[in-house]
Every structure is written in structure tokens, then in C-alpha cells.
Symmetry: C2
């Protein structure tokens, strides 16, 4: 059933002309585990490199039930009305990438899925060869090359993906509900501190007062924390994605953030730092897989790991033994 | 001027008999960069391994001026009165390990420094071969083998050391002052979320009311965050290390924490996890140093890093190039 691959040139030209079908094919290539696909993906990425980096990269997280899809649907619509092209990449660690979850996403964001200037795509999470989360990064780059002005990366605030996403976006937005406490039990430790903004969703109807109270609480709490190195002080806003209400203020905040960080040089510095960290983790992962590919090495590693975990071998002794073993491989 | 090294057997027996002079010599050996010293240190660590792991490992952090030394001096005294042997390891990233800083520590904690059941020692921070912070971990193990019931690891809450210390202790205590806000500017992002307890120091005299207010504020703030996986909910206490006042309550809290985590199995699980993480980072570091030891590799690495940071090479391309380079080494 599988179509024959397009040539690298055809893929590159298709992406650059904003062809969504070809963009999708290129992303599938990036996500493929086949070495020949990976090689072609690398060629495509190299060819479009100069066209990347020009979008606003926005990470959005929140526990299930907070209304992420509705929010992204409504906020994406606002961006489209402003003449922006919007790409949405959804990381869902609970479901494997499958046709099912693609259809699920299309249903979740019906308006965006059908709009000619929007692109919605699930993206696999988890450890991937060549850098944790590297597929999402590379997919983001392809979307940028295809002319998307905003790339929204959506993640469920319960797993490991948040740190990854935080490391690849310009702005990290945490969606919350009023009446904190219970809902928060699901949010992983540390996520709050990564947020550039906390937005309390569903601030409509009977919920409005509770949302205002929650806003004050979060503001007080966030003020107890130090500002970002960039000088950005996280903001707390309320909104209703359903009505919709408060979305324009979020857009204004994003612009203010970008202006501030552009002015003080932190925008570029942050991106450079993210690149360097990506490279380091990518190299580290490749280096490990270079060795773990050898079954005897893996056996040796696991044996030593067990000794260390049980307190039967000193740590340095064990890692030295592994390195000495490498010398013999 | 340097004394001839003791034999491994003499070192091990000296440590096991609680001889502080010999313990100091063993720590110096652990901290040494000479390969032959490292080998002997490894022998010592292996020989005493069965005697380690029995202390309460307590991390204490806070910005300069919060009264860490006075607190540790007073809290250490309380532990001594309870018949415990107390070791204090101070990580000071600003000063290189030197006679000066050792004398500084002795002056800072005069009582503990002179007490026969206490041991005060600065410990180098920073990247060390064989695992970031591994010297502090190994020093901690030596102290345990020497019979210290409590090992307090002190760190200044402004640098990278906090994450390291958090990864090697059972309980992580954050010292604060009342009248939050300004003092907090110095505390690194994320430290608050690592804390098992926030203790507001200098809650005496005119400060008492402000300390109570701060306690309420921090309690509210911490309740916005999810509990630890262990089920432990961070506590907020006030104390005055100077008077002293409130220290007994801190001790009770530590006991409660240990009982709770022992009962639900999280104490052992946390320690095992810390061991595994230490092993992984130790192996990673040794693996990198194995290659970075070769000057041509380092040159290649830096060249590619620069290309990546400047956006002139795709990340995966660059790390693949490095791995291919390895194949040829």
C-alpha cells in the first residue's frame, strides 16, 4: 500500500511550496526507523535548514480535562485570523502513533484540521535514536520550512515530554483550571517552574469568580519564585476557550515576551542554547547506541547496573570496568 | 611536605575504627587526580562498601546570609546531644578547595569542628571525572564507613550543586528568611520544588511575626505543587538557629519522613534510584572523557558544535559525523 518515496529534491520543493501532503510525507520519513529513510530525511533537513527558525514556537501543557484541544482550536483560529499559518504537533505519550490517534486529533481539532492554513499532526514521544524528542524537533523544523509562522507543540502535563518540549520552544504555557488542588495532583513536579505563563481556562459562567481567585493564588505563588534568566516574569491570565474570551490578551503577552527577549538578546541566546543541548543529547544517545548495539556490551552493562543498584559494587569501579571492557571491544 | 600514603589496609582499618585523621587522608585520596591515588581510593571504597548507607543523608541549601553555618552548628549540636555522630560536607562552588577554605569552614562551625564526634570538611564541587559530584558521594560513603550517623551536605543555593546534592541525600532542606521576595532572587529556579522542607530561619525577636507570615505564604505556595512520588508533602517550619529555637521540631520531622518512607518502601527505592542514576552519569562521563582525551576528537567535536549553534548544520547530521569519526579512531 505504501507509496514510493519522492526524491529528495521533490520533497524539498514540495515543503518549500507549502504542500501539506508532501510535508506529511517528509515527516513520515523523519519518523521512520529505516536507515535509508533516515538518510533521506537528513538530506531533506539539511536542504531546508536555511528556511527554519522563523516561527514562534509555543509549547502548551496541562492535565487531561483542562481543555487543551478546545484552547488550541480557538487560539489557532485567532492566529489564522491574524493571517498566520499554524502548525500543531501533539505529543501523546499514552497512545502509540497510529492512524487511530491521527483521526483522534483530527476530531479533536476539527476546525484547524480542515483549514488550508493549518496543519495538525501527532508526533511520537519517547526515546528515539539520535536524541530524545528529536523527531518532534525535526518535524517542527520541517513545518517552519513549509512556511508555518507558529508551531504549537501540545503535550499532556503528566509525563516526561514537558522538559523536552520546554527545551525546544520559545514560550511554555501551562493551562490550568480554577479550584486548584485536586487537578494539580496530576501535574508533574517542576512543570510549574518551567512555565512562562499560567493560563486558567474555563473562566466562564459560574467559574469566573473561582478563576479570578485562582489567578491571584498563582500570581502570589509565582512571585515566590525567581524570574527567568531572561528577565521574563511568568504571567497569570484567565481565559475561556469555549466562549472564546481572553485569547487576544494571550496573543499580546506572547508578542510582549518576544519583543522583550529580542531586545535583551535572550531570544537568540535561548535558541542557541537549545541547539547546543540538542546536539549534546543527540551525540550522547548515538554514542550509547553505538555501544549498546553490541549484545555483549549490553549484557555487561546490565550486570554491573544490577550490582550497583544492590550496593554490591562501588559505582566508579563498575563504570571503570565498563570502560575497560570497551577498550577490548 | 606530603606524608607517604598509608596502605589500603591501614586506611580501611583506620576508617572503620573512626580515626578522623585517617578518614581525612582517605578523602584526600578520593579527591586526588593522580591515577595511582584513584586506584587506591577505589580499593578503599570497595573494602568499606558494606559499612556504608546507614546514615541519615541530609542536604541543606540556602542563599548566603540565610544563616546556614549557624543553623548547621546548632542542629549538629542537637544531633550530638542525641548521641549521634555528625559529618558536615560543605560544597562551596565559589572557592576552590584550599587550605583557606578549610580554615574558613572551621571558623564557621567552631563547635562542630572541635567536637570529637563531629567531622567538618569542605568538598570540591564541579565536574569531576567519573560522575559529576562523585567526590562528594564517595566522601559521604567514607564518612558512613567511619560511623557517622548523620551526613549533612551543605550547598549554596545559587549554583548547579543543588540538583547534585538532591540526587544523593534522603532529605533536602531549604533554608529561607522571612520577607521573601528580594532574598529569593538569588535562589535558582527549581530548587523550591526539590525541597522536602522549607525552614524559615531567624524567626526570633522582631522577625517572629514576619516569619509566621512567610510560613503561611510558603505553605500556600507549596500546596499548589503536587506531592512527591513518595507521598511526602513538603513541610514549612520556622526556627532560630541563634537562640536556638525550633530545631527539635525539625528533628522530629526528619524522623517522621524516614518512618513514612521506610514504611511505604520509598526510602530504599529512592536510594536504589540514586545509585542507578549515579552509575549512569558516571559511565557517561567516563565514556565522554575516554574520547575527549583524544585531542583530534575534541577539535572535531568543537567544530561541529559551533556549526550547530550557528544553525549551519542539522543536529543529527553533526552527531552522526562525530560517531562516524569515532569509528575511524
Amino acid at each position: 500500500m505504501r507509496r514510493k518515496h519522492l526524491s529528495t529534491t521533490a520533497l524539498v520543493e514540495g515543503i518549500q511550496s507549502g504542500n501539506r501532503v508532501i510535508l506529511s510525507q517528509a515527516i513520515t520519513l523523519v519518523e521512520s526507523r529505516k536507515p535509508e529513510d533516515q538518510d533521506q530525511a537528513d538530506e531533506v533537513l539539511e536542504a531546508v535548514l536555511a528556511d527554519t527558525g522563523k516561527s514562534l514556537r509555543l509549547g502548551i501543557t496541562g492535565v487531561p480535562g483542562v481543555g487543551k484541544s478546545t484552547f488550541i482550536e480557538a487560539f489557532g483560529q485567532l492566529l489564522l485570523e491574524k493571517g498566520k499559518k499554524v502548525a500543531v504537533l501533539s505529543i501523546d505519550p499514552t497512545s502509540q502513533r497510529s492512524r487511530g490517534s491521527i483521526l483522534g486529533d483530527k476530531t479533536r481539532m476539527e476546525f484547524l484540521s480542515r483549514h488550508p492554513s493549518a496543519f495538525v499532526r501527532p508526533t511520537p514521544s519517547g526515546q528515539t535514536l539520535g536524541g530524545v524528542g528529536s523527531k518532534t524537533r525535526e518535524t517542527m523544523l520541517l513545518c517552519e520550512a513549509a512556511g508555518y509562522d507558529a508551531v504549537i507543540i501540545e503535550t499532556v502535563g503528566v509525563g516526561q515530554s514537558e522538559t523536552l518540549v520546554h527545551g525546544m520552544v520559545d514560550f511554555f504555557l501551562l493551562l490550568m483550571l480554577a479550584g486548584a488542588g485536586d487537578e494539580l495532583q496530576g501535574i508533574k513536579k517542576g512543570i510549574m517552574e518551567m512555565a512562562d505563563a499560567v493560563v486558567i481556562n474555563k473562566a466562564d459562567g459560574d467559574n469566573r469568580k473561582a478563576a479570578q481567585r485562582a489567578k491571584t493564588e498563582y500570581k502570589n505563588a509565582l512571585h515566590l519564585f525567581p524570574p527567568n534568566p531572561s528577565g521574563w516574569m511568568p504571567e497569570v491570565l484567565t481565559c475561556s476557550a469555549l466562549q472564546p474570551m481572553g485569547l487576544e490578551a494571550i496573543w499580546e503577552m506572547l508578542k510582549k515576551h518576544q519583543e522583550k527577549l529580542n531586545a535583551n538578546g535572550h531570544f537568540e541566546a535561548k535558541r542557541q542554547k537549545q541547539q547546543v543541548q540538542w546536539f549534546e543529547s543527540s551525540f550522547n544517545d548515538l554514542l550509547k547506541s553505538y555501544f549498546f548495539h553490541q549484545p555483549e556490551f549490553k549484557t555487561q552493562y546490565n550486570k554491573l547496573l544490577k550490582l550497583v543498584a544492590e550496593g554490591k559494587s562501588p559505582v566508579r569501579q563498575a563504570s571503570k570496568a565498563l570502560i575497560q571492557y570497551l577498550g577490548k571491544v
